[in-house]
């Protein structure tokens, strides 16, 4: 009911738009229009792009990215950024993989792992918790330094990413045989991440359709993040501090505490993302996760989480991630050459940020 009313109101607004309104509409949504055009071109070149397979692939390739985008999204809402995301995720991947190798696998990271023989859920839970805890601690350190010493997050997280790479490589190279990609992950772990839902109750999916577990996890995380951002004091404080730190402080919001919590939550999400990513990829090494922050940050910005702080929606991050995945996926699908892929991607990022700042630019 409410929806229909909103909808018809929107239609009416469209009808009433004059030329400048249309122009504004085009500029404000230019990024989506460009992406739609791109997808259109891909479909023209490769009509088979429109398929169930594509849907499933895009959704499952977006899942981990989305979780990471939520993490860095919170930090962007605080007018920050996180360049240590990639290395954090890489660390979480290496930790998770090293603790989740099959007992029978020949070259294990831990030849004698105390988790061996434990019940399945403990074997899954412990690596997850450790990965989340490690990422949360490093991210909290970022948050503390940004909030207390007022160092720009760019430099703090840049430093942290270098530091993390050191710690990560130290850990990765610690086994006697040296650092080797950590594969041979246990079937429990792989199934937990790569499994799929073929039916809901009596309803059997047909036409090759299924729901990957990863998509389910991403959906659950989305709901949790939505509630956290919109329905809790923590979330409201995050937006207030991001929008106007001074006003928030004057109103008695614990600004430092908010910073630390947001960064900690980011860390937890990176840990979870890394845990899932290692299972998705099937192995991990010390260069895993490299540059993941770029896609995550770009997706957030394209999705309207503004660098000027205080603005952002869960749906925006979702849209940003989906659009980016569809774009990358589509370009490989249409076999567009590597060089042009980069040119197009780069162009869209610059374009998105320019449009984003334009909205908040003060005119004189």
């Amino acid at each position: 009911m409410n929806f229909t009313r909103n909808f018809s109101a929107r239609i009416n607004r469209f009808k009433k738009m004059n030329r400048t309104d249309w122009l504004n509409f085009l500029v404000n949504n230019a990024i989506y229009i460009v992406m739609a055009l791109l997808i259109g071109i891909v479909i023209l070149r490769e009509p088979t792009f429109l398929s169930v397979r594509t849907l499933i692939n895009v959704l499952s390739q977006s899942s981990v990215k989305l979780i990471l985008a939520f993490g860095v999204g919170g930090i962007i809402i605080l007018q920050g950024t996180d360049l240590s995301l990639g290395r954090s995720v890489g660390f979480a991947m290496v930790i998770s993989a090293s603790l989740s190798q099959a007992d029978t696998y020949a070259s294990r990271f831990y030849p004698e792992l105390w988790l061996t023989g434990m019940p399945t859920f403990i074997k899954l839970l412990i690596p997850l918790l450790i990965a989340m805890a490690v990422c949360a601690i490093f991210s909290m350190i970022n948050g503390y330094i940004v909030a207390i010493f007022k160092v720009h997050p760019f430099i703090v997280t840049l430093g942290m990413s270098v530091l993390l790479y050191g710690v990560l490589t130290l850990y990765y190279n610690s086994p006697e045989q040296g650092g080797q990609p950590i594969g041979g992950l246990s079937t429990e772990y792989s199934n937990f991440i790569l499994g799929r839902i073929d039916s809901i109750g009596p309803l059997k999916f047909t036409g090759g359709f299924y729901i990957p577990y990863l998509v389910v996890y991403a959906a659950i995380v989305s709901i949790i993040v939505w509630v956290l951002w919109n329905k809790t004091v923590f979330g409201k404080n995050m937006f207030a501090v991001g929008g106007n730190p001074e006003a928030a402080a004057v109103s008695g919001v614990n600004v430092v505490g908010t910073f630390v919590l947001v960064y900690m939550m980011a860390g937890i999400l990176y840990g979870l993302g890394g845990f899932l990513e290692a299972g998705r990829i099937g192995s991990a090494n010390n260069s895993s996760g490299f540059n993941y922050e770029l896609d995550a940050i770009a997706a957030c910005v394209v999705g309207g989480i503004s660098f000027s702080g205080g603005v952002g929606k869960v749906s925006g991050a979702l849209a940003g991630v989906l659009l980016f995945t569809v774009m990358s996926y589509g370009m490989i699908f249409a076999n567009i050459s590597f060089e042009y892929q980069n040119i197009i991607k780069g162009f869209i990022i610059v374009f998105a940020v320019a449009l984003d700042t334009r909205k908040y630019l003060k005119k004189t």
């Binding site: 509630v227 329905k231 809790t232 004091v233 979330g235 409201k236 404080n237 937006f239 207030a240 929008g243 106007n244 001074e246 006003a247 928030a248 402080a249 004057v250 109103s251 008695g252 919001v253 205080g310 603005v311 005119k363 004189t364």
Partner: protein, 500 residues
Amino acid sequence: MVKQSILKIEGVSKSFSGVKVLDQVCLDVKEGTVHSLMGENGAGKSTLMKCLFGIYKQDEGTFHLKGENVNFTDPKHALEHGVSMVHQELNQVTKRTVSENIWLGRYPTKRGFVDENKMYQDTKSLFTKIKIDDIDPNTRLSELSVSKRQMVEIVKAVSYEAKVIILDEPTSSLTEQEVDKLFEIIETLKKQGCGIVYISHKMDEIFAISDEVTVLRDGEYIGTNPIEELDMDKVINMMVGRDLSHRFPPVTNVPGDVKMVVKNLKTRYEPMVNDVSFELKKGEILGIYGLVGARRTELVEAIFGMRTIESGEIFIDGKKLNNSSPHKTIENKLALVTEERRSTGIFEVANIRFNTCSANIKKYVNNFGLLSEKEMFSDTEKQIASMRIKTFSQESLIRELSGGNQQKVIIGRWLATDPDILLLDEPTRGIDVGAKYDIYNLMIELANNGKSIIMVSSEMPEILGVTNRIMVMSKGYVADILDTKNANQNDLLKLSAKYL
């Protein structure tokens, strides 16, 4: 019936580096009344408020709230005790909703989640309490007009069960209807027993709403009177009454032919300058006076090419000026010394030489395409000597100098470009008396050498002391242009409120 005192300020004094900015100031706000606090720009009103809210610590004096001695540590602390201030520049999270702003920092929760419903209802009932019915608590603040945002801020104060609400220039950007609405709200608050401190320059408002008026001048407490005992002239006398001789050098320059003509200048974006026309003569010092929000800075910025012009033209020596960017106006021999010295004037972490030469850097490019340190050095030496800049060496960082000396460096920088027209925006703000005198002298000397000068100032004495003519602005419009010889403070004050 004798009303009870709520907020009592007694004998508050405050000095900054030896300069007394508040001297034994008193204020007694009674419950259910509006107490107006008046004084010229720089009279000490905002310093007094900053002492009350704990942003500054007063050197002596006390604050009493309902008879109890209080010393707030920060605005939040004051808020919790029911003392709240609505600033002219609203400090809000504009990207969030009305109710979120009101309950910021103390959201109601239910089972760990924010209770949106309660927040909405509480906001609604607060609005009802002070009779506001046209604001939806779920609207984002950025979508509201300034007046409504201000009401939200007042409602926020009320939500803290404020006993004292301080309104700082609350009507500076409101329309007449909005002002009426604000006054209704103030009446409602009065009835509920609130004490209101009303800071404003606008006489008619003061007389419309106040119960008592306290006047400050140059940091001194001049007096408190019930409104019935006052009229406009009395108030102005209290605000100004002082002797202006000996603080200014004799104005010896003689204006010549017309140098610059500004015709119907209008800017595109807020805050807008509207329909401004005036002439500037060769060797003339033109003062621009106005209250805060008169848009004097915007006008000089528009002339200098920093703002988008909607319509109107500027002619220099009869030739149309292309002022699409500062770059172009500098070529046409204009120079602007900005008001915000720190943010737009100086290169804080650079030395005096760099700050002196930066506007004219092309001049120092030698045959090799590099900068000639030697010439920059000698020019800077000359500048330091001629402007009497007090510094140890030209290697010193400019931020190590006093405000007056910084200002001299900046003026010197622009003089190095040999401008014909010098736009000075609040050139003496925040500098000591001696340095002010130097700058006045310099201005008159320059005018004697045929330079035309526009001086924007909020200080009435200096505008009357060192100019040939005075243009008074009010809310982006020209109120009038007066001959300084025939102008007095009353006229300026009245004119400056013309379009409010």
